[in-house]
């Protein structure tokens, strides 16, 4: 790998489906764990944006986005372009999806390491009601910026092994994956893992790595391999469920949150083969940790009823509000307003300083015409000027909460509130922006920004 990791960020959605709730709803075993659940207005693209924003809090502007997921929002259309747009990046740049199995995560990391850029790993895990995938899965995202600057971690070695075998599969469009008998997968994976890990450690000249992460859709193979290749320091993995293509990223981020300079990390991804990577943590890590650690993101989730989870995942079709569904966003206007719709960039009057969202040509304050400069507001904090709970509006998850947001430094817009209940909102409540999917109409996802309590 040519480039080191310069910064990273992670995202865990706010909602949790507790195993106890699952057990109670389905009349099966409970347990003390929980899985993270993407909200109804989140998908792999929006969660990827969240993680990418955390990774780029330093203001870096990568020239490439490598987006890996097993749950793409679109097929036959690049999803990484929406992430690219939400990050307000230059037109001169690359954006590509690595869609399919969890192994795409390794593809994104390797591509970013080879040519520089941002690897965005994001995933939603869904299974049939009552399945192990439903219970043990989780939704999350992580992003890693690779480049030529002072790295926080460098790649010492990598090795891969590949085999064709039928352990887990899903045809496009299907809800749940099939899995072969569990013991077959263990037998198929363990030699591949041993091979790749052995070669990677040898190449790196590392006998016992300080930290080891083994990520695999095959839970038992991963657990067995982790016992066979222990690290010096036990992993404190985020307890939100196995998050597919995001899983190695989220756990690497959690390890980096805690790691000291000089430590080595063995990252093992076993998905239709095995890819082992050995990294060394560099001194710059102390200055480049994100504002929110993975542990903080995992804490303080909001419990979700199972029926709500099913509704959000499209597994339970509920009676919609008796209001017409909004029309699909139109192609040409969405393209014309790309910087506004996807990056929340407004305009500031160069004559009087008034901030406008969306950008406009005539100043609402001094009426100057075409005297505007860019005013990016997606990271600007705001406060509630007034608010309402709309119980009549069409929403994928009624009721819809709308807030009039006044931004620090100027600008106002009416936005939907995200991850909030009515009692959390009042005049003056501090808010921050989050990239979401307002609704899907005519097969088109309407991506835009919402405001959530900061």
């Amino acid at each position: 790998m040519a480039h080191g990791i310069l910064s990273y960020g992670a995202y865990v959605p706010r909602h949790r489906l507790r195993h106890a709730e699952l057990g109670a709803a389905l009349g099966s075993g409970g347990g003390s764990g929980a899985r993270a659940v993407a909200s109804y207005d989140e998908d792999s693209t929006t969660m990827g944006v969240e993680a990418a924003r955390a990774a780029l809090a330093n203001g870096a502007a990568p020239t490439a986005i490598h987006f890996a997921t097993t749950a793409p929002a679109y097929a036959d259309k690049t999803n990484a372009t929406a992430i690219h747009a939400a990050l307000d990046l230059d037109r001169q740049g690359f954006a590509v999806d690595l869609v399919g199995s969890a192994r795409g995560a390794v593809g994104a990391l390797r591509q970013a390491a080879a040519g520089g850029g941002l690897a965005v790993l994001s995933d939603l895990r869904t299974g049939r009601p009552g399945s192990a995938d439903e219970r043990a899965g989780g939704d999350a995202a992580a992003a890693f910026l690779f480049g030529a600057g002072e790295p926080i971690a460098t790649v010492l070695a990598e090795a891969s092994a590949t085999a064709e075998f039928l352990d887990r599969w899903r045809r496009p469009g299907e809800l749940a994956s099939g899995q072969w008998e569990e013991r077959f997968g263990v037998e198929a994976y363990l030699p591949l893992i041993a091979d790749a890990v052995g070669r990677a450690l040898a190449e790196a000249g590392v006998e016992e790595p300080d930290r080891v992460i083994v990520s695999s859709p095959h839970a038992r193979a991963a657990a067995t391999a982790a016992k066979r290749h222990p690290g010096r320091i036990a992993e404190e993995a985020p307890a939100i469920g196995y998050s597919g293509a995001a899983d190695p990223g989220l756990r690497l981020a959690a390890a980096l949150d805690r790691a000291r300079p000089g430590e080595t990390i063995l990252l093992v991804v076993a998905a239709d083969g095995c890819d082992a990577t050995v990294l060394r943590v560099e001194p710059a890590i102390e200055r480049a940790r994100p504002a929110r650690t993975v542990a903080q993101l995992v804490e303080g989730g909001r419990d979700l009823r199972y029926a709500t989870y099913l509704t959000w995942r499209g597994l339970l079709e509920r009676e919609p509000p008796r209001r017409p569904e909004p029309g699909r966003p139109a192609g040409p206007p969405s393209h014309r307003s790309e910087r506004w719709k996807f990056a929340f960039v407004g305009s500031r009057c160069t004559a009087c300083g008034q901030v406008h969202v969306p950008p406009r040509r005539v100043c609402v304050n001094c009426r100057a015409v075409d005297a505007m400069e860019r005013a990016p507001l997606s990271r600007q904090p705001g406060r509630v000027a007034t608010y309402t709970v709309d119980r009549l509006a069409f929403s994928p998850s009624p009721p819809m909460i709308d807030v009039v947001v006044d931004f620090e430094g100027g600008g106002r817009y009416t936005l939907e509130a995200a991850d909030a209940s009515p009692e959390e909102i009042e005049i003056g409540t501090p808010l921050e922006l989050t990239f979401r999917r307002l609704y899907t109409s005519g097969g088109v996802h309407n991506y835009f920004w919402k405001a959530r309590p900061a």
Partner: protein, 398 residues
């Protein structure tokens, strides 16, 4: 703003208004025929053949002048369709008046119609222009948009939310009391305040169904002639004193300077209309006001914007009964949008119809003694982004 106005230059000499309501058995065509036949029947001196031109207001029930010329069988005359959201009916009236005042025609008709109950939805359905999916109006409903006034008003004037809720309830209660006395109203029943309170919050913010105007079908119309010709057609014409329509920059939703406790467009149109009509103390000079009570907090804010109440005092005046039928200035004596119903294109003309009846002493149980000067008002749009229409009409010249 310079506006000369056309005070006492044109007069209404005949009017018609259907009952408003859920007319499952009536199309927009039927409603147009009903309203205009009623009008022509009451004005035998001005038959359809002698009307020179027509203005038709409808927001969503059809496009072009043929929406009117076709059902009425109008023989090759000028028919103009106008739209200005909830001020649509008023806008048809305003343009018709101007045509007569300009001398282009001597006898014209303004008609408004709306067929809302064929959509399959209980609330108002609007057609959005193809866009980028970022406009809040695409999802936020009208009651929710107007409910934004409530917390902002309470905060600005330090009004106890419970007292504000009482005032909103009083608006709904009062307009139902009035509508109960009106045979054309959609809801002809008084509603106890406890029942209004019980449903609060079920629609949007603290608004319940009883805080929202009735969604209905209906049509209304007016025959307009030169003031000097008025007595040829009726012994009690209604004279136009002022007409004002104001569209603002619609910047409230994007400008932190707007505080969601007022409609700047209404303030401007009231100032304009009062200047045209020579009104200096509206609360005392007006006999009645028909205002756009689309939702209960709207009426409260309008009382202040039109100068009927001091800022921050409308909730108290409303609770004190100042705007009740027997109050200092009866507001919405016919039941208002709340109880009469709100077929968008017809509403502005319906308000004029109440002035017409009141001036003629034909308002029955809700007759206001010695009514001679009335105000009608429409608001089209939402807080911070709307058009406002105000007319002043009088029973006498001068």
């Amino acid at each position: 703003m310079a506006s000369r106005g056309i005070k006492d230059r044109v007069a209404i000499v005949g009017m018609g208004c259907t009952a408003f309501g859920e007319h499952w058995d009536r199309s927009a065509d039927d409603l147009l025929v009903d309203a205009t036949q009623q009008c022509f029947a009451s004005t035998p001196a001005l038959p359809k053949e002698e009307v020179d031109a027509y203005w038709l207001g409808t927001m969503n029930s059809g496009q072009s002048g043929t929406v009117l010329s076709k059902p009425l069988g109008i023989d090759y005359k000028p028919v103009t369709r106008v739209e200005n959201m909830c001020a649509t009916g008023s806008e048809a009236f305003r343009n018709a008046c101007y045509a007569v005042a300009a001398g282009a025609y001597d006898r014209v008709m303004a008609v408004g119609v709306e067929k809302l109950k064929d959509t399959g939805y209980s609330g108002l359905v609007r057609s959005n222009v193809a866009g980028d999916g970022t406009a809040p109006e695409e999802t936020l409903t009208a009651p929710a948009a107007f409910s934004l006034l409530d917390p902002a008003y309470c905060r600005k004037y330090d009004v106890d939310p419970a007292a504000m809720r009482d005032a909103m309830t009083h608006v709904a209660w009062k307009n139902h009391v009035n509508g109960a006395k009106n045979e054309r109203a959609q809801f002809r029943k008084e509603v106890p305040k406890e029942k209004i309170d019980a449903g609060a919050g079920r629609v949007a913010g603290r608004l319940g169904v009883m805080d929202c105007s009735g969604v209905s079908d209906g049509a209304a119309c007016a025959l307009i002639v030169r003031a000097e010709d008025a007595y040829r057609y009726t012994d009690r014409p209604m004279f136009v004193k002022a007409l004002s329509v104001i569209a603002g920059p619609a910047s409230g939703p994007i400008d932190p300077g707007y505080d969601y406790t007022t409609f700047d467009e209404v303030v401007a149109s009231a100032r304009d209309a009062y200047a045209q009509a020579g009104i200096t103390d509206p609360r005392r000079q007006l006999s009645l006001a028909e205002v756009h009570d689309c939702f209960t907090p709207t009426e409260l804010v309008l009382m202040e914007d039109m100068g009927f109440s001091a800022c921050g005092e409308a909730w108290r005046d409303e609770l004190d009964g100042a705007f009740d039928l027997d109050g200092e200035l009866p507001v919405n004596p016919d039941g208002g949008l709340k109880s009469f119903g709100h077929p968008v294109g017809a509403s502005g003309l319906r308000m004029l119809f109440e002035c017409w009846l009141q001036f003629r002493g034909e308002a029955g149980a809700r007759q206001i003694a010695d009514a001679r000067l009335g105000l009608t008002h429409n608001l089209g749009g939402r807080p911070g982004t709307c058009v406002s229409f105000i007319s002043i009409v009088g029973a006498e010249l001068g």
